[in-house]
Symmetry: C2
Subunit: 339 residues, 2 copies
């Protein structure tokens, strides 16, 4: 058994799930950035018409799910399963999005790795024949994250140079057993890696070792080299974390060089948007994937990418108790072009 397993952490998908549709919703700052033209919906209202930032986050997921259904020409009753999670305590962004929709739901928690984690889980469900038309979805919101993880915005706390800016956005992708679109051929599940970083304002450094461990595991398990990919894209290490990842790889003689991109550095233009080390949050890799990346894979502008969702598994309590920040990274190998 485990006939689809490869190596220690990876598995292949003999019947490759097809990403037949995707949708993204983004906030004001994101809609002023370099990927603005790739989002389906944007809003200048931080509250998305709701009474609280937490409800705004729920609303973004709702908008993303509805847009996805519209693009795929499906009704909620035709969706087999939604895998989703978010950064809010007890993942209320996800559960309040799905309440009374009648759609089966399995909740995930992988911090900012959740978009990749949901694709990994959805791939197993679709390829194994356990469900079809499976949605992978997540979100984050700058204001709800700042309030929960750091300080209330009204406090006016100073941001450190290594801090990242939580993306306000939500992305959703539909995985089907058949259809036209980019296909997932294999996945690598991450291990929780902790090198002792304790600075909650330097999450790129906390996550870079996890990202490198998973990329290395994928290359080994699948007998691949960086050259097999047009792009190895992490989400989201930010500028500093990206440099640390390149250095970790270089020490092992692996040159990621021009092939490496990071959603945190793609989503904002730091020369004019002043986001310090780049974007972060579950929504960061979600809106970059469900727009720019899947769009280019669909059009054949990218042929093969390794999408590596990275998450910092801290909580305010663990930080206050002086504990380090464990990181995790899950990798999804996505093939573009016509099929």
């Amino acid at each position: 058994m485990a006939e689809n397993k490869r190596g220690k952490q990876s598995f292949v998908l003999p019947q490759m799930p097809v990403i037949t549709a995707w949708a993204s919703v983004a906030g004001k700052r994101e809609s002023e950035g370099p990927l603005a033209h790739t989002f389906d919906l944007t809003s200048k209202d931080t509250y998305f018409g709701q009474k609280s930032w937490e409800q705004a986050e729920k609303q973004m997921q709702k908008l993303a799910l509805n847009k996805l259904l519209e693009k795929a020409k499906l009704k909620p009753s035709q969706i087999g399963l939604v895998y989703s999670g978010d950064l809010l305590n007890q993942c209320i962004g996800s559960s309040f999005t799905l309440r009374n929709t009648g759609i089966p739901h399995l909740g995930l928690y992988g911090a900012c790795s959740t978009m990749a984690e949901s694709l990994v889980a959805a791939s197993m469900a679709v390829c194994g024949g356990f469900a079809d038309k499976v949605v992978a979805m997540t979100s984050s919101h700058f204001a709800s994250s700042e309030r929960q993880y750091r300080f209330p915005l009204g406090y006016g706390g100073q941001r450190t140079p290594t801090a990242q800016w939580t993306v306000t956005g939500s992305g959703a992708a539909l995985l089907c057993s058949a259809g036209i679109g980019p296909r997932i051929d294999s996945c690598t599940i991450g291990t929780v890696t902790d090198l002792g970083i304790k600075d909650a304002n330097n999450m790129g450094a906390a996550m870079a070792p996890a990202a490198y461990a998973t990329i290395k595991a994928h290359l080994a398990d699948m007998h691949r080299a960086p050259e097999d990919f047009d792009l190895i894209v992490t989400g989201d290490l930010g500028q500093l974390g990206k440099e640390l990842l390149m250095e970790l790889a270089r020490r092992d003689g692996i040159y990621l060089g021009g092939r490496l991109a990071d959603c945190g550095t793609m989503v904002f233009d730091n020369t004019v948007q002043d986001v310090h080390s780049g974007g972060s949050g579950c929504g960061c890799s979600a809106i970059t994937l469900c727009g720019e990346l899947l769009g280019k894979l669909q059009k054949g502008k990218l042929r093969h990418i390794l999408f590596c969702g990275t998450g910092a598994l801290l909580s305010p309590t663990s930080t206050q108790q002086g504990l380090p920040i464990p990181g995790v990274c899950h990798a999804v190998s996505i093939i573009g072009g016509c099929n």
Copy 2:
């Protein structure tokens, strides 16, 4: 495709995953209750030798995982994947348990439904051949939960009659593609159900409609009747929620009667332990399953059970913002006896 799907929410497992080993760790009050003899490890120290209740919860998961490995005669490097989650913000109980173990990890959030959710996810991974030797695990801790969801214990808040007592405990189960032990033949994934209950001290009422919806879906999707099971066991509605579930079923002409049990009412003896409406928390159904229930299935004292993990998907923030409590329930059909 989706050849293993049944009906709207269920799937069957043609190669039934075998639960070859399980382990449970429990706290002081649990070790004074009716299931005391079924736990592998118990402690009279609420801190489990750690400096905080959050770290105590991590320690319980570590002890449960280590005990599971010992019973299964496996090293950590032989474990293909761990699905786990807990109630702590950002699921730090789970991520800190797994850091630097080298074991691939996918984090889940399903509130108190997490034990069932992890079995559902693990079943797909094992039956689909994506991983083997997969652990499903969760935990909860009375003191860390009270502090996070309600009041600091030192505050001495009064408990309402409908309140449940969060179990201090952790349970872990090992799913393999082959071996001897109880087998999982099918699962039903729940939908997020919300009938407008807003009382965070009455979670049984908030979860009962979700439990009924999933049990009904399992019976319909799998063409089964309550009589096909020795036990339909929810975890954890408590006394009040259990009565509400029976009433909801009765109105549809379904008599669950003597077949229905609830982990929240099994784990404590309310006549002497003063836990009001019964036990709750991810650990409640985890230690009841990974002791009493799997033990009886192994010995053939139970032939077939439907294990229904129920979760209240609230957060303190959603409650403070006046929002209702959505519920979810996932069902796992487990066959006992020799195989």
